[in-house]
Symmetry: C2
Subunit: 493 residues, 2 copies
C-alpha cells in the first residue's frame, strides 16, 4: 500500500520530564561542582564514578521477584546478549548515589582504604511524576565517609560543607550548618517513658514542627488537633508530662552551643542514650571549633528534625539564610540546600557486617538556583568575538584573524553561515552574545586595516544616544590589521 511508504516523521522531543542543558546551564553547574570537588579533594575525599546502570538486586529498594519492579526507577529486563547479561535479569538506572556506594563498599571492601572517604557527582534517575522544576533526571552531589564510627567524621563533613558553600561563593553569614542528633531524641523518649512502638508516631509528629509550631506539636503528641479545614487529626496519645520533654528538646536552642547543650542535658534526664547523644553533639561542637569553624557557621540546633527518622546519630542540614523573592514576588528565606547524617546498614545487606557511615548530599539544582538568585553563578564565559565575512573568497584571511585572537587567549570564531546578507551576520553575533565583531571588506583589505565593532558599547549607545551621536559610530574603530588583537583586548578590558 502506498500508505505504508509514507512514514510519519519522528517527533523531535525530549521524553516527558527530561531536559537538555545549553551553554551556561552546563558551565555554571560545572564551575560550581568543580569548586565543591576541590574542597572535598583537599579534605582527603576521592572521587568515585559508578556506572549509571545497576542490577535491581544490588539497588535493593526494589525486588526482582515480581513481574515488574516497583515504580520509582527506570528498569528493564536483560535480553540475551551473547557474552553480555543473563537474559531476564533486571537492570535499572540508579535513583541516588548512596545505593551504588553501598554496592561499591561491599564489592571492593578488601581493596578500599578504611575508612573510605569518597565524593560522587552525577545524574540520577527517578521514574516519577515530573512537575515544574521536577525532572526525571537530575544531579546529585554526595560526600560520605564509610567505615568510621567516630563523630570526628561527622564534624569533618559539617566543616567541609561550610567550606564548600563558601567556595562556591556563599558569604559567611549567608549560610548556617545546623546539627542535631537522633540519640538525643531517643533519650528524650526514654526519659518520657514513651513506648518504643509509639516512637515512629512521635517522629512523624515532630517532623511537622516547622509547619504547625510548638503548640501544634503539643496537641498532636497528646489529644490531637483540628487542622485548617476543620478536620480532627488524631493525637499520638502521650500525656502532657510525656510530651513536655519532647517539646523541651525541640525548643532547647539557647544563645550558644553551651546553653543549648545545657538545655538538652536537662531534656534527656537520666537516659543513658540521651546523654550519649548530647555528648556527641558536644564533641562535634568542640571539633568544629578546633577546625576553626565557629558557631556562626555550624551550630547545634535541636529544631532540625528532617532526617531524624532516617539517620541513627548526628544529622545536619545546611540552610541559606538570605532572603529571595519567590515566584509570587514574596520575600522568603532561601532555606535548605544540603542535608545528611549518620546511618548504619549501608553495607550490611550485602555482607552481613554492620559498617558505620556518615555523609551529606548537596541539592545541586537548589544551590545553583541560589547562586543565580545572588548573581553568583555568572559564567565569565561571554560569547565569542565574531569575525564577519564580507568577501567569501577571503575566508582564509578571516580564519587567520580568528586564529590570531585565539592564540592570544581570546574566544573567537568566523561566521560560517551564508555571508550574503550582512545584517544576518550581525544578528548572529547578537544571538551569540558576541562582545566584538570584526569587519574587513575589500576596501579595508586593500588598505591593510580592519573595523572593530564594540557591540556592548554599541548596544548601550543604541539605547541612549541621539541620532547624531549614533551616526558618528563611536563604537566602531578602524585599526591596522596588525593591531587587531591589541584593539580587541583593549575593548574586552
Amino acid at each position: 500500500m502506498a500508505k505504508d511508504k509514507k512514514q510519519p516523521r519522528p517527533k523531535a522531543e525530549t521524553p516527558k520530564g527530561f531536559r537538555d542543558y545549553f551553554g551556561s546551564d552546563v558551565t555554571e553547574r560545572k564551575r560550581m561542582l568543580d569548586r565543591i570537588a576541590e574542597v572535598y579533594h583537599r579534605h582527603g575525599f576521592d572521587p568515585l564514578e559508578t556506572s549509571a546502570v545497576e542490577t535491581v538486586e544490588a539497588l535493593g529498594k526494589f525486588l526482582p521477584d515480581v513481574d515488574r519492579p516497583n515504580a520509582g526507577v527506570f528498569a528493564w529486563q536483560e535480553e540475551a546478549v551473547p557474552g553480555g547479561g543473563t537474559a531476564g535479569d533486571w537492570l535499572a538506572l540508579r535513583y541516588d548515589l548512596t545505593a551504588p556506594l553501598a554496592r561499591v563498599a561491599a564489592q571492593y571492601r578488601n581493596d578500599l582504604p578504611s575508612p573510605y572517604r569518597r565524593y560522587a557527582m552525577g545524574p540520577v534517575w527517578r521514574n516519577e511524576k515530573p512537575g515544574p522544576g521536577r525532572f526525571r533526571q537530575f544531579y546529585q552531589c554526595d560526600a560520605d565517609t564509610v567505615g568510621s564510627g567516630s563523630v570526628a567524621a561527622d564534624a569533618e563533613i559539617c566543616a567541609m560543607l561550610a567550606d564548600a558553600l563558601e567556595a562556591v561563593g556563599i558569604a559567611r553569614g549567608d549560610y548556617l550548618v545546623r546539627m542535631n542528633n537522633r540519640k538525643v531524641l531517643n533519650g528524650v523518649l526514654e526519659a518520657a517513658e514513651v513506648d518504643t512502638d509509639r516512637a515512629d508516631d512521635v517522629l512523624r509528629t515532630i517532623d511537622k514542627f516547622d509547619k504547625v509550631g510548638r503548640d501544634g506539636v503539643l496537641a498532636l503528641l497528646t489529644t490531637g488537633r483540628r487542622d485548617e479545614s476543620g478536620a480532627q487529626i488524631e493525637g499520638v496519645g502521650l500525656s502532657e508530662a510525656q510530651a513536655a520533654p519532647v517539646l523541651a528538646f525541640l525548643t532547647s536552642k539557647g544563645a550558644d552551643n553551651a546553653a543549648t547543650l545545657d538545655n538538652l542535658r536537662a531534656a534527656v534526664g537520666v537516659s543513658q542514650m540521651g546523654a550519649e547523644g548530647v555528648d556527641e553533639l558536644s564533641q562535634m561542637a568542640g571539633l568544629l571549633s578546633a577546625m576553626g569553624v565557629a558557631e556562626d557557621r555550624a551550630v547545634i540546633d535541636p529544631s532540625v528534625v528532617r532526617g531524624l527518622g532516617y539517620y541513627t546519630g548526628p544529622v545536619f542540614e545546611a540552610e541559606l539564610t538570605f532572603e529571595i523573592l519567590d515566584e509570587k514576588g514574596r520575600r522568603r528565606q532561601f532555606g535548605s540546600v544540603a542535608g545528611g547524617g549518620r546511618y548504619d546498614g549501608l553495607v550490611e545487606r550485602f555482607t552481613g557486617q554492620k559498617v558505620p557511615a556518615t555523609g551529606v548530599s548537596i541539592g545541586v539544582d537548589r544551590l545553583l538556583a541560589a547562586l543565580r538568585a545572588k548573581g553568583l553563578a555568572g559564567d565569565e564565559a561571554a560569547g565569542p568575538v565574531v569575525v564577519t565575512v564580507m568577501d567569501r573568497d577571503r575566508m582564509a584571511d578571516y580564519q587567520a584573524m580568528a586564529a590570531d585572537l585565539r592564540a592570544a587567549g581570546i574566544r573567537a570564531e568566523v561566521y560560517l553561515g551564508n555571508p550574503k546578507n550582512f545584517g544576518n551576520q550581525l544578528k548572529y553575533a547578537d544571538k551569540r552574545g558576541a562582545p566584538v565583531a570584526i569587519i574587513q571588506g575589500e576596501d579595508e583589505a586593500a588598505r591593510g586595516v580592519v573595523q572593530v565593532k564594540d557591540l556592548i558599547l554599541g548596544a548601550r549607545i543604541a539605547a541612549q544616544a541621539s541620532l547624531d551621536e549614533w551616526k558618528s559610530q563611536p563604537a566602531q574603530t578602524e585599526v591596522a590589521r596588525a593591531d587587531l588583537v591589541a584593539e580587541v583586548r583593549r575593548i574586552l578590558g
Copy 2:
C-alpha cells in the same frame, strides 16, 4: 515456611559489561576533557548536555513498531506514571551523542544560532557484547557544526582537533590529522565509469586497503583473491583499466599537499564531482595554513578511507604517530584517536529540511590510554597528608592540624579508623598514597612538637639503606607545632 524468611543476600556486583571509576580514573579523564573543552570553547563552541534518556522514536535507528526494539540499545517501555510518560512509549539510553544532537537541532531550530557550534562530553550506552576494554557504558567527546556547508567549518574542526591534542599534552610531531574527501572518490568512480550500484562494493573493498595493501585491493577490485586460509574471495569485477584510477586515488599521497593535489587532479580526470572534491581539499589546506596549522599537523592523505562510506564530503582522522608496546610487548604505532567528517540528513528525518553538518568524535578511552602510555595523564593529585591519632581524646588537636594544612592549600585528613593499632594507621597512609604522616603522642603534645614523617623518602630509604641508616630515621623530623605547615610544605617541595 522458615525458608522464606532467609532471603539470600544480594550480590555486590556491577552488571556485566559495566564498571566503576575510582580516584585518578575520574580525575585524569576529567582533566583531559577539561582541557579539550577549553580549546573547543575558545573556538566558539558551546557545551550541550542532553538527557541520557531519549524516546526510541527520536533516536531513530530503532523503530517502535515491533514488540521490542532491536538489540543494540537499552530500551524499555514507559509505565503509566500519572503526569509522566505515556504508557507503552519506548524510551532508551542514548547510544551516541550525534542522535541527540539531531533531535536538539530540530527541536530548537528556531532558537539556536545558525550555524550552531556545539560540543558534548558524556557517557553513552550500548547493549552489546562486552569484552576486554569494551564496556556497555563509555564516554564520548564530540564537536559538531550544524548548519554550515562551508569547508571552512571542516577546516576549523581539523585545526581545533590538532589544538586539542596539543592541549592534552601530545607533542607536535606525535600526532597527525589526515584529511580526505568522499567527493574525490566519487569523482574517481565516475572517471572510471564504475556503475553506481557497484560503488558500495568498491567502498567496502578500499576499506581493506590498510589490511591487504595495494595489490590486495587491486585483486579484490577486479577478479578476486585468495585469503590466507586459501579461500577464494570474489572480486568486484572491475576491469584493470577501471581499477587503476581507484588505486591511483588511494596511493596519490605526494611529498606535500601540492603534490598530492596534483596526483588527485590526475586521478579524477574530467569528473566534475571529483574536481569539486579536490578543490575542497585544496581549500581546506589553504585555510589550515592561514590558521597557522602546517602540514606537519594536518595533511591531505587519500589513504584515509575509514568513514568514506558514511560521510558525504571531507573526512578526517587524527592519529598518534608514536610507538607503544602492545599487550604482547610488540612495538606498534598507537594509531587513530579521533575521526569525523561531513554528513547530511542530520535534521532531515525530523523536519524534512536538509541541514549540512560536520563534526569530530574523540575516542576518550583511547586518548586517555595514549596519555597514560606516554606518562602524560599523571594526576598531580597525590594522596593526602595523614594526621595519625595517638591519643583518641585529643582528636580536636589532630583535626586542627589537618585544618591548618588545608588552609595552606595542602590536602590533609585525620585518620578516622580505630586508632588502637598504630601500624594500621601507617598501612592506611600507605594505601592512601600519603606523602607525609603527622604523629603527635602525649610526650610530643606536652613539649609542643609534632613528628613529621616523609613517607616517600622513607620508602626509598627502606628499599636501599643499611640497618644503621634506617635506625637513624632521617625521614622523620621533629618540629614545633607552630612549624608544622612550613615543614610539610618543605617536604612536598
